[in-house]
């Protein structure tokens, strides 16, 4: 339902505001000479451009559901959009997944550590640190990190090479992923720390402590799970934000992923490509929300009814 509305809006906007004819042929629809008029007629025939908008939408949607995303207008020979997506999507996905894994790996220990010594000096310093980290825009962080780690220290390559073997591609992916992960980790840490502190004040923690359960065991076995609830929600929202952030970070680190594809497509007004990417990203987003609902029932049995 939601996806349907999004697809209609995007499709409508692209058709009303753009001029697909111009992108296919490189001539405007107002051209008058005999030759281009013929071409225009042929193209209209081929892409059903003469049909009213709803009909074209139905044709496109029918194809899209079956995995046929149309052809790229701007490329020679008009290869199917599908090829481009299949090539680019895994890179963006792996970037986002890697970033989320890093963010988890950083934020969970960080939050546990700071919640277990709430309001100590070290905790205050780390809270300020988290706040500073949140305030760095991702593109600025990308510039700073690539300056320090790539140029000054030379630990990471600056350019992602698509043909390189897997280990070196992974190596080139670390810095962009870390750029995305750091602010996300700070957001998680802030949230989880607050929730953990609230949980630690509950009665059942006191009971556990009275029974002589060790601090470590209280933190990991008793306090962590009930504190994860809003964390999971924010995790989902952040993933959406990270997909957006990935577009920017990709273009800074020159990773040929979906982000670069959509920017190029937009600049060349290649609208089947834009449409396909918008739809795929939105679909991932909606699916993600579904998965999060499932995770809720995993961490909180009360949700299962």
């Amino acid at each position: 339902m939601l996806l349907l509305v999004i697809s209609m809006l995007t499709f409508g906007a692209m058709n009303v505001l753009g001029d697909p004819l111009f992108n296919i042929l490189g001539v405007t629809a107002s051209a008058t000479d005999e030759d281009s008029l013929q071409k225009i007629e042929a193209a209209k025939e081929e892409y059903n451009l003469d049909d009213p908008l709803p009909v074209r939408y139905a044709i496109w949607l029918g194809g899209f559901v079956q995995g046929d995303f149309g052809v790229q207008f701007s490329e020679d020979g008009q290869p199917p959009v599908r090829n481009l997506i299949v090539e680019r999507l895994p890179r963006t996905l792996s970037l986002v997944i890697l970033a989320q894994l890093m963010a988890l790996a950083i934020s969970l220990p960080w939050a546990l550590w700071s919640a277990s010594r709430a309001d100590s000096k070290a905790d205050k310093v780390s809270t300020v640190g988290a706040f500073l980290t949140i305030s760095i825009p991702n593109f600025a962080l990308a510039v700073i990190l690539s300056y320090i780690l790539s140029i000054k220290l030379g630990w990471f390559p600056l350019v992602y090479e698509a043909d390189a073997p897997f280990p070196s591609r992974l190596h080139a992916m670390i810095l962009p992923a870390f750029t995305l992960a750091l602010p996300a980790a700070a957001v998680y840490q802030r949230l989880l720390r607050t929730d953990l502190i609230t949980t630690l004040q509950e009665d059942f923690i006191l009971t556990a402590r009275a029974k002589g359960v060790s601090r470590r065991s209280i933190l990991f076995k008793h306090a962590l799970r009930p504190s994860l609830f809003s964390f999971v929600t924010v995790f989902g929202i952040t993933t959406g934000a990270l997909i957006g952030g990935a577009l920017v970070v990709e273009s800074i680190f020159l990773i040929p992923g979906l982000g670069r594809a959509i920017v190029e497509a937009v600049l060349r007004e290649d609208f089947p490509v834009v449409l396909a990417i918008v739809m795929i990203v939105a679909a991932i987003f909606v699916l993600l929300n579904l998965v999060i609902d499932l995770i809720y029932s995993l961490i909180d049995p009360r949700v299962r009814r």
Binding site: V5, A13, L17, V143, T233, V263
Partner: protein, 305 residues
Amino acid sequence: MTDLSTHMEHGQANLLADLGQMPAQDVTQKGRRLGIGFWLAIAFMVVIVLVAVLAPWLPLKDPEKSYVIAGERPPYSPSWQFWFGTDQLSRDMFSRTIWGARISLTVGFSAIAFGMLVGGSCGMIACYFRGRFNAIISFVFVVLLSFPALVLAILITSLLDRSLFTISFTIGILSVAPVGMVSRATTISFADREFVLAARSLGARHPRIILRELLPNVVIPMSALALLGVAVAIVAEGGLAFLGLSVQQGITWGKLIQNGAGRSDLEDAPWIAFSPILVLFLTVLSLNFAGDRLRSHFDVKETAL
């Protein structure tokens, strides 16, 4: 429409997450004082805004003029003559950064003003009247939220033009849904209070109740959100700049940073990217900090009621 209700729950979950992010612990300790950090942040904001507004009358170097020193190749490093150094065309980075503030701040403030006006009022009205109207507006918000923000921005800026107005408008549209969600949540907490009931039983009409009774209560917490929103909007402009989709005419912080972020420039002349990054970071930081303090400040009064 079956999945509408589940998405509404998502909306609610988002709000819960927002509530969860509020630093509950800090509230009880720091009490009602905003603290010196808040006023420092405000002071920095005032200075930046003043300098940006007064830029044409301040004794600055011309941001578009090349100040070539005979016998030396630009870019020049920071010195007494060029406080922040110069860029590749030996233009003064200090005055360029200040001139960049003009467009960046305009985008930030006008986008959020738009979001507050449209999103804020929609959220309030939706919550006040409930029923079908509420359902429709919530659905619109959910559709807007499920577009990855940056993708929507790319879409709009590519279909329209890249004037200052379009960019601000685009980012404004993006802010409508999140602002509306919060305003709806804030209104919910007031709509059932006794004073609304009292006003209604005294014969007050809907517009009067909304404007005179609800609005003053909602505006204050929303002002904290506005500060946070301006920071996000300024960052969003920067992100667009890195994709080559920011305001075409004039200087913005995003464009300045992007201009210095190339590999060889970072290596030889890091100050080209780092001076605007520093100012951008400080601005975003003070906006975030002031917004955050305001938010916890007003929550105290909420709970004290």
